[in-house]
């Protein structure tokens, strides 16, 4: 496998200026191991400065949710900063009992308040009080910010995490003398996550939803657009969660979700920087080896059915207009994926791109216009999405017509060889430019390993793009860009009138 990779990518990348030696050195500096519990760990050595970055990628995202627990993958991500039975507590034995009491009282309160008939308000109030009292009691034993404090104190920077449709990622960077501390903390947060301050943090996440989705015209449009484009697959669910679910699910739900999906065989940890593998492996075995082995979660059952008619969602807003159109396309692992990548580049990359030249430069109807893959994810069949941001006085309809004209060209005319070559050259150089940044590398290696089962796909994807022909582009464009496969989303501007109603949560 390794040799095949080298032979093929050498040919491709040396054209972009990377010497054979550089690439061989990259592979030589990259070490991969799968621990006995199933966890895959990648170490990339870069010894320039005494620092390292890491990324933990869990092969689980909001696509693993079902109605009732939407938003839970993201909620767990927040909880992964709250510590364990050893980090974040002043008295675990007591806190543990208090937290169990919180769950018990919450379950009672939640059932009562959601009663569909004969809701007993007095009883609900009483149960709510019992729940809140239990929270206050549990709070006495928590040091919920201890995890963050230890990282900050040790000089950790850029500590954060994200939850996408496909994956959840955790990352930060540390001085290299803190490797053991890092190995302890990063394994500890997944070994025994404790759901302390869960309901406060649920409020925080609700604020995040209000900020990103409810209070932003684009946020509102993206949520509605995906819900329209996907009728069966969870890509159509709100990633941050529907407000009702967000205000209902419990720590018990989160624990069950973690037990199912946060298992070592479903996770990859990649480290890039000043790390010596001979010293690092024993520490990784010691600490990450503590994660209990468990079977890989069952693959998702639902596949989005073939779209049979065009769909449109229009938001009438006081904001300026925007236009989106999405077309269903296969998953990233599909052989045509490279062709979709090339179409995206041709349409969107740089000032020579077709949409820039037509919509931005010549027609001046858009301030920005592009077509991109992987919305909202790429592990499962997803959307190729075009968009245009109108300039003053122009409408979504003008954007739609101008995009349609460019789509027609790509369906009917061969892409000139020089244009195709320019795109391929930029893809190679783009990869090269990503190779000198610890945190970017850690994330990319871990993501490639998660999605494809091999980090080398980072390089192979370039090789596949190099093979895409003008005929491939026409074929894929004709198969994809059809009216019955299209979902349109747009914002139309209306003058400010009375206050709009928004989706729940404010009270």
């Amino acid at each position: 496998m390794k040799r095949v990779l080298l032979a093929a990518t050498l040919l491709v990348l040396t054209a972009a200026g990377l010497s054979a030696q550089d690439l061989a050195s990259f592979e030589k500096r990259t070490h991969t191991r799968t621990l006995a519990n199933g966890l895959t760990v990648i170490i990339l050595e870069r010894h320039d400065a005494p620092v390292f970055s890491y990324a933990t990628i869990v092969n689980t995202g909001s696509a693993q949710e079902v109605p009732g627990i939407t938003g839970l993958a993201h909620m767990f991500e927040h909880m992964a900063f709250k510590g364990s039975d050893r980090v974040g507590t002043t008295d675990w034995a007591t806190e543990q009992k208090a937290l169990a009491r919180v769950e018990e009282t919450y379950a009672a309160y939640d059932r009562a308040r959601r009663a569909e008939t004969n809701r007993d308000e007095a009883k609900v109030a009483e149960l709510e009080k019992a729940w809140k009292d239990a929270i206050d009691e549990a709070d006495k034993y928590q040091k919920g910010d201890e995890f963050s404090e230890v990282v900050d104190r040790a000089g950790g920077v850029g500590m954060n995490a994200f939850t996408a449709s496909d994956i959840t990622g955790y990352f930060f960077s540390m001085p290299s003398n803190q490797f053991e501390l890092w190995a302890y903390l990063e394994s500890e947060r997944f070994r025994q996550p404790v759901f302390r301050q869960f309901y406060k943090e649920r409020d925080v996440v609700m604020e995040e939803r209000r900020m990103r989705t409810e209070s932003s015209p684009f946020g509102r449009l993206f949520e509605q657009f995906l819900a329209t484009a996907f009728i069966a697959h969870p890509y159509g669910f709100s990633g941050v969660g529907w407000p009702s679910d967000l205000q209902t699910f419990s720590a018990t739900d989160a624990a069950a979700f973690a037990k199912k999906y946060y298992v070592p065989s479903n996770m990859v940890v990649a480290i890039a920087g000043d790390v010596n593998p001979t010293e690092a492996w024993p520490l990784i075995e010691k600490y990450f080896g503590r994660l209990p082995a468990a079977p890989k979660p069952e693959p998702l059952r639902t596949t989005e059915p073939k779209q049979i008619s065009e769909r449109t969602v229009t938001l009438r807003e006081t904001a300026q207009p925007i236009y989106l159109e999405g077309y269903h396309r296969p998953a990233a692992t599909h052989p045509d994926s490279a062709t979709y990548d090339v179409i995206s580049m041709l349409m969107s990359s740089g000032r020579t791109s077709r949409l820039y030249r037509s919509l931005v430069r010549d027609k001046k109807i858009a301030a920005a216009a592009a077509g991109f893959n992987g919305f909202p994810g790429e592990k499962y069949p997803n959307l190729f999405t075009f968009y245009g941001v109108t300039t003053p006085g122009h409408t979504p309809e003008e954007i739609a017509a101008a995009i349609a004209a460019e789509v027609e060209r790509i369906k009917t005319e061969d892409v000139p060889a020089a244009e195709l070559q320019s795109v391929k050259t930029r893809v190679k150089a783009g990869l090269l430019r990503q190779l000198a940044n610890n945190s970017g590398l850690a994330l990319q290696l871990a993501e490639a390993q998660t999605l494809y089962g091999d980090w080398r796909e980072l390089f192979r994807s370039v090789e596949r793009i190099d093979k895409v022909t003008a005929a491939d582009i026409k074929r894929v464009a004709n198969a994809t860009f059809t009216p019955q496969n299209r979902t349109v989303g747009k914002i139309e501007s209306v003058a400010q009138t009375t206050a709009k109603t928004t989706q729940g949560g404010a009270k």
Binding site: E104, P175, P292
Partner: protein, 694 residues
């Protein structure tokens, strides 16, 4: 329910069988290995250009960046947005030899980038190229730097883009709160805060862009930085050959920005399509060269560092009020930053959050920092220090920054020792000195109907109108009305008090000598006005003489270190001052560009005065006129420094013209100086050199 609880308990129980007894407290880190990042080589050419060369052989890439002094702060307010039009069309407008579109084709086919950009302080021309293409792309970078064509079609495109930005600036609540809080903090006219408008964008011409290029792009204003896979000695020779013969040009200076402080209080912006209120609190911050800078950094870390700072812990983790909250004392490199706190919370907890934020700000100033907090903050900063120099590119960028703002090259090296020195007392002291809960301008953007109670329960609320002026609306400050007859009558009464219309019209020049009494001491000042529109002022400050000259054709300053052109914003300000000068106004009664509106009557001291609003060719002034006599008792103007008020208490006649001899000046309600006139001469002759740049 029992079952649920037992599941929960089971899940929460430590899987002790697997766990080893290790705790992070038992892990002892070795000291970090000794490390210093290679520093770039600094080369200074005879023409003043500074070059930094940083070798980095990891990948076959070369990056270059020319940083050029002069940015939006060197642009007049009526051309706000010029730098964005300039830097967009600089690259897209091509060079004298090639169009921008040709450059696009050539560069993208080589996966190379040559781009232009800029901000308030500087502009940049960058290059990012594969080593193998350096020889073909380097000449293009140079050509863009020196020979831009600013073709009209790309200026139009840049203007379309800028107008799109203007049209969309009120769509997202986050951008509204950031922008308007900045305007509150720096003042709406500050180049660090002001916004381009359709009118300012429309007024920008190709000549303006060429002029800005001509004014700024000279070797003595440029820092060139290269990083990548090259040999420094060879590269140095190449750059010397390339740039060595380029002649010096005028130096770009940093404009003097007037000090500004917002009026404390509550400001509100209505935004109905949101479920959150966005809250910001601002007042002036400090400058980077402040000796307390490092103590302030420690204070900031305690207040809002990472996830473990007070704001995140107390407002987010403990109370669940917000997703994002942050703040601290800002320090700009060569001008004061802002103290700023910002957060978003659901509409129903707006007041609760304002109170909580105020509480945290106040706590900074009046409750002690604990030893634990101090230790955590200092260790966090010191242990993370390595990340400020963990790549060759960062080391290079730091040197460019220090060079640009005139800081010593070892500034960052000394940083850890300075942090180490900071004590709890230092933190307490700087908090008291630089954080002022009573001076905060508090901005709330959101849907007030959903707040717990009206904002007015917090006191007087100043609404901020963020309506975007339409492209063809009159410029802000233009005459709102044609004035009224009473206004004309009132201004004529003032003219009579001063000496009559005939005398005013016969006046061609006015020389005044006065003494300015300020908290810093007495400053002699001499002002010479050649009507209608030339003015020279000379102040004899303790640092030496400062001359400012503005004429229809020139605007310059003569300072102890030499003469230099006046920054556009300052010229603009001087012209506005001249337009609203009392004698200029009185000489323009009857000029259709000057309108006069009489308003209400108010007491000024014990004088019954009628308000006279004047629109002087786009600039506004308000006079308070004593009803009985036509004497002006107070004038109020608005300029870059905010509101300037002059109260006149004594008058004397010189050459038939009644001139105030004693005035008190206040800035934003704070008394700033008194002016005592010692002599005035009407129709004094100008020296041959009065308006000539030395």
């Amino acid at each position: 329910m029992k079952r649920l609880a037992s599941i929960a308990a089971a899940l929460l129980i430590a899987s002790s069988a697997m766990a080893q007894a290790t705790h992070y407290r038992d892990i002892k880190a070795q000291p970090l290995r000794k490390f210093s990042m290679p520093q770039p080589k600094r080369v200074v050419l005879a023409n003043g250009m500074v070059i930094f060369l940083q070798e980095d052989h990891e990948l076959p890439l070369i990056n270059a960046r020319a940083t050029i002094r002069g940015g939006e702060r060197n642009v007049a307010a009526d051309k706000a947005g010029l730098v964005s039009i300039y830097t967009q069309s600089w690259r897209t407008g091509g060079t004298t030899d090639r169009t921008g579109d040709q450059l696009d084709e050539f560069l993208e086919a080589r996966a190379a980038r040559v781009e232009t950009g800029g901000d308030t302080d500087s502009t940049v021309v960058t290059m990012d190229v594969l080593k193998a293409d350096f020889d073909t792309v380097f000449p293009i970078w140079l050509d863009v730097l020196r020979n831009p064509a600013f073709r009209e079609d790309k200026i139009t495109l840049a203007k379309t883009q800028a107008n799109t930005g203007i049209s969309r600036r009120n769509d997202e609540v986050g951008s509204i709160v950031s922008r308007e809080a900045t305007k509150l903090g720096y003042g709406p006219d500050s180049p660090y805060a002001r916004q381009p408008e359709y009118a300012t964008i429309a007024s920008i011409t190709r000549d303006d862009l060429l002029a800005f290029h001509k004014r700024t792009v000279h070797p003595n204003n440029i820092i060139v930085a290269l990083i990548g896979d090259f040999d420094s000695a060879q590269m140095e020779k190449r750059l010397r050959d390339t740039f060595g013969s380029w002649a010096r040009g005028p130096q770009v200076e940093k404009p003097e920005l007037p000090a500004y402080a917002p009026k404390p209080g509550v400001y509100a912006i209505a935004k109905d399509d949101v479920t959150q209120a966005n809250i910001a609190m601002v007042h002036p911050g400090i400058q980077r060269n402040n000796p307390d800078y490092h103590a302030v950094q420690v204070m900031n870390e305690i207040f809002s560092g990472g996830f473990s700072g007070r704001l995140m812990q107390r407002l987010r983790s403990q109370r669940g009020l917000t997703y994002g909250v942050g703040g601290g004392i800002g320090a700009n490199w060569d001008n004061p930053g802002l103290f700023r706190v910002q957060m978003a919370t659901k509409s129903g907890t707006t007041h609760e959050s304002i109170e909580a934020l105020r509480g945290e700000v106040t706590a900074l100033t009046n409750s002690p920092v604990t030893p634990t907090e101090l230790a955590l903050a200092k260790e966090s900063i010191l242990n993370a220090f390595i990340f400020s120099m963990d790549t060759r590119a960062k080391a290079l960028n730091q040197q460019v920054l220090l060079e640009f703002y005139g800081f010593p090259a070892d500034y960052f090296t000394r940083y850890p020792a300075e942090i180490q020195k900071v004590t709890a007392e230092d933190v307490q002291r700087v908090a008291k000195q630089y954080v002022h809960p009573d001076r905060l301008a508090v901005l709330v953007v959101g849907k007030e109907a959903d707040f717990e109670r009206p904002l007015s329960t917090l006191g007087t609320v100043t609404p901020i109108d963020i309506t975007i002026p339409s492209p063809d609306a009159p410029k802000a400050g233009a005459a709102p009305a044609a004035g009224n007859a009473e206004g004309v009558a009132l201004v004529n009464k003032v003219a009579d008090f001063i000496g009559g219309k005939a005398k005013l019209e016969a006046m061609t020049s006015l020389r005044r000598s006065a003494s300015l009494s300020t908290p810093q001491g007495e400053i002699p000042i001499e002002a010479f006005v050649q009507f209608p529109s030339s003015i020279r002022t000379e102040m004899k400050t303790p640092m030496g003489s400062m001359v400012r000259v503005v004429t229809p054709t020139a605007a310059f300053m003569v300072l102890p270190n030499g003469a230099q052109d006046m920054p556009g914003s300052m010229k603009e300000q001087s012209l506005t001052e001249l337009k609203t000068d009392m004698f200029t106004v009185l000489r323009n009664i009857g000029n259709p560009k000057y309108t006069f509106t009489a308003g209400a009557t108010e007491k000024v001291g014990d004088v019954d005065a009628r308000i006279l609003d004047i629109n002087a060719d786009g600039a506004n002034a308000r006079w308070y006129v004593e009803l009985a006599t036509g004497r002006v008792v107070r004038t109020v103007t608005r300029g870059a420094q905010g509101e300037m008020t002059a109260d006149f208490s004594d008058w004397k006649t010189f050459g038939g013209i009644n001139i105030p001899t004693k005035s008190t000046l206040s800035q934003n309600g704070q008394q700033a100086a008194t002016v005592t006139l010692s002599n005035a001469e009407v129709n004094a002759a100008a020296d041959a050199n009065t308006f000539v740049k030395p």
